[in-house]
């Protein structure tokens, strides 16, 4: 009996190790492909000191669940990024608390560039929502990624044909029109709150997730929702949803029949453009040379066909050309606009003033 146990265990072990050997050669994703020429060339281009980074595996933390929108973008990017960097890059999902768990986890690591954070826009509201003491200023952005155009959608059998009709109804019947959003502090919530800037009182109900919020709109439980174009595209095509307006102040090119929200609500012009993009960041204090290498690899990655096809298929808006300072300025603006929107609506735990967040003036 004992002997059998031993043999079984040994066979198991050999099988596992053997299988993992096969798996390595099949996928190649965990294989190391050092291409030292790459980083040194990039570093020299920037004129900064040459660094030996990266010498070992790099980790990209995605503070959202596997398979979610942010995760899919992150994984596609990482595939291209890995090639450019010449070092094995692993994606690790650490979801929870609107991205705070993953963010804090990334912050707990050394600022050596071996832990990269693929963040969404949620850190802007961490402070006022009491979720975390971290925010965007604790991280140094490498590159702004993409954002999915947000649009106002209603169900196919909804009485609203234009956004003006919806706005008129909302103004005539305060509190009676229903909007669904995913969770407090998330993009849908913020978008709903912007309606307050136009003195509109709409009933907002969180559904715990973007897809559930969308389902509520389809089934008629709520009157409208703010959807991500990439997610609702299929429903627009199949006719189950109808797009009324885009969350922009200018016409979206690939949606010629969908006017910008500001046509019906010019009061909102002051806050636009308001993006909800994802962003590649590292912890503050990472050495400049290392950041230069990462930036160079990222720039090469976004030229990669895998990435460009992915972005084109989903009609994502790319914000890659934001310079470092522009990104920092944008996040400041975002934090300010959203924190005060939330605070004015009474949805916050902490006062933005306590965190030195000034009101946004255009």
């Amino acid at each position: 009996m004992k002997k059998r146990l031993i043999t079984v265990l040994s066979i198991m072990m050999i099988a596992v190790l053997g299988f993992s050997g096969c798996a390595d050669s099949n996928e190649g994703t965990s294989a190391n492909e050092p291409a030292n020429g790459q980083e040194t060339a990039a570093a020299e281009e920037n004129g900064s000191e040459v660094t030996s980074y990266p010498e070992k595996d790099v980790t990209v933390i995605v503070p959202w669940g596997a398979g979610g929108i942010t995760d899919t973008v992150a994984r596609t990017f990482t595939t291209a990024f890995e090639e450019a960097l010449g070092q094995s890059v692993t994606v690790v999902n650490m979801s929870g608390a609107s991205g705070a768990i993953g963010t804090e986890s990334a912050f707990a690591e050394e600022a050596d560039g071996y832990t990269i954070l693929f963040s969404a826009e949620t850190p802007g509201v961490f402070n006022v929502m009491g979720t975390s003491d971290l925010n965007f200023s604790d991280f140094d952005p490498i590159m702004m990624m993409v954002q999915d155009t947000k649009i106002v959608v209603v169900a196919a059998d909804s009485p609203y044909e234009t956004f003006e009709q919806l706005v008129a109804d909302m103004k005539e019947n305060p509190g009676k029109i229903k909007l669904s959003y995913s969770s407090p502090g998330a993009s849908g919530h913020i978008q709903g709150l912007t309606l307050n800037l136009a003195d509109i009182d709409v009933n907002m109900t969180p559904y715990g997730g973007g897809s559930d919020a969308m389902i509520a709109c389809i089934s008629g439980e709520v009157d409208f929702t703010f959807g991500n174009y990439g997610t609702v595209k299929d429903y627009l095509e199949s006719g189950e949803l109808r797009a009324l307006a885009s969350f922009t102040d200018n016409q979206v090119e690939f949606l010629p029949e969908v006017p910008p929200m500001t046509d019906a609500l010019p009061e909102l012009k002051s806050i636009f453009p308001l993006y909800f993009p994802n962003c590649v960041m590292v912890k503050q204090g990472t050495p400049d040379e290392v950041k230069a290498v990462i930036r160079a690899a990222a720039e090469e990655a976004i030229q990669n066909e895998v990435w460009t096809e992915f972005v084109a298929n989903r009609n994502y808006e790319t914000l890659h050309d934001f310079s470092h300072d522009e990104i920092v300025a944008y996040w400041d603006k975002y934090t300010s606009v959203t924190s005060w929107l939330l605070h004015d609506a009474g949805a916050t735990v902490n006062n933005p003033e306590d965190y030195g967040i000034a009101r946004y003036e255009k």
């Binding site: 004992k2 265990l9 040994s10 596992v16 190790l17 993992s20 390595d24 965990s30 690790v92």
Partner: protein, 147 residues
């Protein structure tokens, strides 16, 4: 009457009532948003009331009834589990430092000894094969970042 109070049901009931009280006290902090129907405090307070009622339903019959309770608790029996718990806590604390393979190996060795294994061959074999297989499976094959 006093022997009644020592009954486990009574002890549990009292403990749960106190716990519920604490929960209610803490939950009231969350009631900042006006209406009760939407309040984050609603369910915590509600369920605490249910717990209090159930605890009473447990305590009162227990006090009234005269049946003897079979001894549930014995310090002797607690020794082994306590050792396992302490060992596991130690293992978890050391995992980040010693990393998976070494820490798991040590954990398995000590735990087997606590449970009474004497033969070094068994101890050695299991404490090496298991961490290696798990490592192979998780870290290499599945890409999980073990500590």
């Amino acid at each position: 009457m006093i022997s009644n109070l020592k009954k486990s049901k009574v002890q549990d009931g009292v403990f749960l009532i106190i716990l519920s009280g604490l929960i209610i006290k803490e939950a009231l902090n969350y009631h900042k948003y006006g209406s009760w129907a939407l309040s984050p405090s609603l369910i915590p307070i509600g369920i605490s009331c249910v717990i209090i009622l159930l605890s009473l339903a447990m305590i009162i019959p227990a006090i009234k009834s005269e049946e003897e309770e079979a001894g549930i608790f014995s310090w002797e029996a607690m020794k082994s589990p306590a050792a396992v718990i302490a060992l596991t806590v130690l293992y978890l604390a050391l995992l980040p430092i010693l990393h998976f393979l070494i820490a798991s190996c040590g954990y398995l060795v000590v735990m087997m000894m606590i449970l009474g294994e004497r033969k070094f061959l068994n101890i050695g074999l299991i404490s090496v094969v298991i961490p290696l297989s798990l490592y192979g499976l998780f870290a290499i094959l599945l890409g999980v970042r073990l500590p």
